[in-house]
């Protein structure tokens, strides 16, 4: 079988898969499923990256997303009412506007993609992209690399300070008073 045909078929499978699963994220009642649909969408994109000769980036994207989406699922279940979708639900606002924004952005971006003439300069398959990335990391982009480290440190400290209840400044919710209990019936379609 022709190799490029196989690549094409795989590409369209992964592309359709990642878009469809990306859409299903907002169409499922169960938060765990939503998180894992998003994971599937990322896996699809990761697979496309692999097809695009960015083998390392593709695989590492999938690797990273496993942990991130598990955390996503855990946090979503914590902070959603009816997290498992035992009752069907549809929690949206400005729905028509959102649909319109989605359609317009898709149309606009597609037009850009199809009309702008990008230079045709495919990556050289003989180059070891991972090693290239390593040299870039330690060479020209050293500053970016170290900045990322500092940003991640700031994130860790910030996230812990925000999320943890018991910090050195006392209890996080001390002095706050709970809002009165309100029963809201949310619209269902």
């Amino acid at each position: 079988m022709n190799r490029s045909l196989v690549v094409d078929v795989l590409f369209w499978c992964f592309a359709a898969g990642s878009v469809v699963t990306g859409f299903l994220v907002f169409r499922t009642d169960s938060m765990v499923r939503a998180a894992f649909w998003l994971l599937a969408s990322f896996v699809g994109v990761g697979a496309i990256l692999v097809l695009l000769a960015a083998e390392f980036l593709g695989v590492v994207l999938i690797l990273m997303m496993a942990g991130e989406m598990l955390i996503m699922a855990v946090v979503m279940v914590m902070f959603m009412m009816n997290p498992a979708g035992l009752n069907p639900m549809f929690m949206v606002h400005q729905h028509r506007f959102a649909v319109a924004a989605g359609v317009v952005s898709f149309a606009g971006l597609s037009v850009v993609a199809l009309t702008v003439d990008f230079p045709d300069q495919p990556v050289d398959p003989s180059v070891d992209a991972t090693a290239e990335l390593g040299f870039e990391l330690l060479g020209d982009s050293m500053l970016v690399f170290q900045t990322a480290g500092v940003a991640l440190l700031a994130t860790m400290v910030g996230a812990i300070a925000l999320a943890s209840r018991n910090g050195r400044f006392g209890t996080a919710d001390e002095g706050s008073h709970e809002p009165p209990l309100e029963i809201e019936e949310l619209e269902s379609p």
Binding site: V32, E55, V60, A66, G67, L70, V74, A84, T130
Partner: protein
């Protein structure tokens, strides 16, 4: 490699591995229990139990996530197979040897947490649910030490292909270069395979945890997938720490098999020798002890390499 050959060879390896885990477990259990040497049972009980589980009707809970329940063992089994596929058996002989084989294996390990979480979430039952969340804590803490312990072995090879990593151990095995690496790898390996002292998601205090509601082939598929995962971890450990096919006299694949068996015995026997750990101290230990240790391992072995 032709797709059919790839799939069949991994399937055979998986079957042998799962059977080996069951037999080693049986022998270790009998030795520790001080039971008599009625050896036939140890060898024949695993296949008999497989048939028994095939005849048991599957159990379903009310309002379960049926797809998730079906997917979880399938995912775990697929991940174990993928992990096995990237382990080289001999020089130039591997089912798959991608340039990023190492990362592929790490990805398979990372997805185990998805499989276990899904398995515990799906039945909509208390004990599986607690097991699932507990494994979340366990796996998130294990992940980084696991990746770091493995990563150190890639330094001398200058490559992320497992074949190159084994090739680079011709004169000295990585276990000598990085004495800290293998213990950490085995510890986290047992944790990833949720076995023995680190079998927290399926623990005895949760009367089976994520598999508490499993019956028949649900249970069979889950146990098979888990044993295959242990086997894949042992095989990868043998390849990247114990020099894979390198060894005198015997042909390479035999060495590989022997080394895998060694690690498998250590991992499987831990179940009969070590008590269940507590989840919270374990998480703290992972972050405060094992991650720094794994980093020390990387930097010290890196510095010695220069």
């Amino acid at each position: 490699m032709a797709p059919g050959v790839a799939v069949v060879s991994v399937a055979v390896a998986m079957a042998i591995g799962v059977y080996a885990v069951a037999v080693i477990d049986g022998i270790a259990g009998r030795l520790v229990a001080g039971a008599g040497r009625r050896g036939v049972g140890v060898v024949l009980d695993p296949p008999r139990t497989v048939v028994l589980l095939l005849m048991q009707r599957r159990h379903r809970t009310e309002r379960a996530d049926a797809q998730g329940w079906a997917l979880a063992p399938a995912l775990l089994g697929g991940l174990a197979a993928t992990g096995l596929a990237v382990v080289p058996v001999d020089r130039g002989t591997a089912v798959a040897d991608p340039g990023t084989g190492f990362v592929v294996f790490a990805t398979a390990i990372a997805f185990v947490m998805i499989a276990v979480f899904l398995h515990g979430w799906s039945p909509n039952s208390l004990f599986p649910l607690i097991g699932a969340y507990r494994y979340g804590a366990q796996a998130l803490s294990l992940q980084i030490p696991f990746l770091l312990a493995m990563l150190a072995t890639a330094l001398p090879a200058e490559s992320l292909a497992v074949m190159d990593i084994v090739e680079a151990q011709g004169d000295v095995w990585n276990v000598v270069r990085q004495p800290l690496g293998l213990p950490i790898y085995l510890m986290v390996g047992v944790g990833v395979g949720f076995w023995g002292p680190l079998n927290l998601p399926d623990g005895a205090d949760l009367v089976g945890g994520t598999s508490a509601e499993d019956a028949g082939t649900d249970r069979l598929a889950w146990e098979v997938a888990r044993a295959a995962m242990l086997f894949a971890i042992a095989a990868m450990g043998a390849a990247v720490f114990l020099g894979g096919w390198w060894g005198p006299l015997l042909p390479g694949p035999v060495w590989m098999a022997l080394k895998t068996l060694c690690l498998l015995v250590v991992m499987v026997a831990s179940r009969h020798l070590l008590a269940r750990v507590r989840i919270e101290p374990f998480v703290v230990a992972c972050w405060a002890v094992f991650i720094p240790l794994a980093l020390v391992n990387i930097f010290v072995s890196g510095a010695l390499l220069l």
